[in-house]
């Protein structure tokens, strides 16, 4: 079953297009990573899916229904971000006790155990928590709600490394025991990529790549050698990044369409091939120029 279907989705703020003719579908019970630079439209997309924002044009369906102002969608979707709002008058424990009245599948026992594990105090108030602790509390709510569609927007903001690790593991464990569709947006692809099944890469409000994460790792290949040779070799290939190393050598990243023999030929002709990590591929694909920040500093 398709959990999210969107077709030509566009969202305009004033004159800027936050989402620009975006089309993709998300299948049931997959963990999909939503990756993109700041301002790529990740949060806007998630908020439209959650029914908070209204699309300007195009079509969006969540559980086959339009999400905006939809009670069924709201009951089956939870959206967690670092601007979560919880009532200031309730203590942390009271907030957790409110949750099961709204979320039918709420796992109260798990919530309690996570609450204790991360050493929250029942009588504390949400607004008094540090940024990282807020994120951790949000994460508990997001996990324990067990919504059919669970969305985390930069969930690890402010968390320290240990808590981040705990979060990823908790997410995975609860996903295994209770499979659901999860959308996870993050700047740290290298941290989350092992958890993901699919990746959805946004650039400028458009879908740039949507594929299993395993394929992303083989999507591009790095090649290094003498500049002249690289230029000759890469002539009819899709180059996504280049960088000069020393005086006469170049490192280039090209789309990996090489056959084994081609790779072998490259190797024997003195070029070295290296795999490119998923997060590097994403950085290269989403940067505006092929040289990255170096282009800013180059004179010509």
């Amino acid at each position: 079953m398709r959990v999210i279907e969107c077709n030509g989705l566009t969202k305009v703020y004033g004159r800027a297009k936050a989402l620009n003719n975006l089309s993709f579908t998300i299948e049931e019970n997959k963990i999909t990573g939503l990756i993109g630079r700041n301002g790529a439209g990740k949060s806007t997309l998630l908020k439209i899916i959650a029914g908070f924002l209204r699309e300007t044009s195009g079509e969006i369906k969540v559980f086959s229904e339009k999400p905006f102002n939809n009670l069924m969608v709201s009951a089956n979707v939870i959206y967690i971000d670092d601007q979560m709002n919880f009532p200031t008058a309730l203590t942390l424990k009271e907030i957790l006790n409110v949750c099961p009245t709204f979320y039918e599948k709420w796992n109260h026992e798990l919530a309690g155990r996570l609450f204790d594990y991360f050493s929250f105090q029942s009588a504390h108030y949400y607004n008094d928590l540090s940024k990282g602790m807020k994120s951790t509390f949000n994460m508990i709510v997001g996990l324990c709600a067990r919504c059919a569609l669970t969305m985390f927007d930069e969930p690890t903001t402010g968390m320290d490394a240990a808590v981040r690790k705990d979060f990823y593991r908790a997410l995975l464990k609860d996903y295994i025991s209770y499979p659901r569709t999860i959308l996870l947006s993050s700047h740290h692809l290298n941290e989350v990529e092992d958890l993901l099944e699919d990746i959805l890469l946004l650039k400028g409000g458009r879908e740039y790549l949507h594929m299993p994460i395993g394929e992303l790792k083989e999507w591009a290949i790095g090649i290094q050698g003498l500049t002249g040779k690289i230029n000759e070799w890469a002539e009819n290939k899709e180059v996504i990044y280049t960088k000069n190393i020393g005086l006469d050598r170049t490192y280039a990243v090209v789309r990996n369409t090489l056959s084994d023999t081609e790779a072998q030929q490259a190797k024997t002709s003195g070029l070295s091939l290296t795999p490119v990590s998923s997060s590097d591929v994403c950085v290269y694909l989403t940067s505006k120029t092929k040289g990255g920040i170096d282009d800013v500093f180059s004179e010509d």
Binding site: N29, F52, A75, N76, N85, F86, P87, R180
Partner: protein, 245 residues
């Protein structure tokens, strides 16, 4: 994948129950404001004295009108407050849509009006007791029939509800566009100044008369309920397409 099915009624009831807990500071401020009003009222709202050569008559009027006025003000501000995005977003941390959020707010405001009305009237009794115990003035005129009591309570509640409805509508307007932050006070003050003398602003007076000088209690109830209904419906219509968070 099994999807949770919901009904509007369940959600509204859930939100309402949650708001009774989450908005408890609203009731705290009610207590504070009413106590303050009671305190002010002991100054007396009026005084009348006459004296002949041998007798001096000194009449002091005490009334809980101030408590009711303060409570109305409280209801008005509370209603505006819960339309602000901080409160609205609290709802959207959980399960809701705009309609259920609005409906639960309205039930909450109704509850608040009833509580505010009853406590405001009770503070009248409180004042009488205090006057009786500590005032040292002989006679307290306070004999009311049951029907008068019911009438007093219900009309107080309705006044409070009316102003909470007005506050809710104004708050929603402001949420729709910030322009109303300037426009609404402008209208009120302008109407107040101009309406006092000029004939062009007769309508302000007629609105006032339409609501507040209705001699028939049934008609009064009907009028208030219709107006409150219109204000709430207007608020729902205005906010139903609004984006949140």
């Amino acid at each position: 994948m099994s999807l949770v099915k919901t009904s509007m009624l369940d959600i509204v009831i859930n939100l309402y129950k949650y708001k009774l807990k989450a908005y408890k500071q609203v009731f705290m401020s009610l207590i504070f404001i009413q106590l303050l009003a009671v305190l002010f009222s002991f100054n007396g709202v009026g005084m009348m004295g006459s004296s002949t050569e041998s007798i001096e008559i000194d009449v002091q009027f005490y009334s809980a009108d101030l408590v009711i006025t303060f409570t109305i003000l409280w209801a008005f501000i509370t209603a505006i407050l819960i339309t602000t995005s901080a409160y609205k977003n609290d709802d959207f941390a959980f399960v809701t849509n705009r309609l259920s959020s609005n409906l639960s707010n309205m039930v909450f405001l109704l509850t608040a009006s009833i509580v505010g009305g009853i406590t405001a009237m009770l503070s009248t009794s409180l004042m009488k007791i205090i006057m009786y115990l500590f005032g040292g003035h002989g006679h307290i005129a306070a004999n009311l029939s049951l029907s008068e009591v019911v009438l007093g309570y219900s009309s107080t509640i309705l006044y409070i509800l009316l102003f909470s409805g007005l506050g809710y509508f104004i708050g929603t307007l402001v949420q729709v566009s910030r322009i109303f932050v300037a426009v609404i006070p402008g209208i009120f003050i302008g109407a107040g100044i101009l309406g006092a003398g000029s004939r062009g602003f007769e309508w302000v007076k007629s609105i006032y008369q339409f609501i507040f000088t209705e001699p028939s209690i049934l008609l009064f109830v009907l009028k208030v309920l219709v107006i409150v209904g219109l204000l709430f419906t207007g608020s729902i219509a205005l906010s139903n397409r609004m984006e949140v968070r």
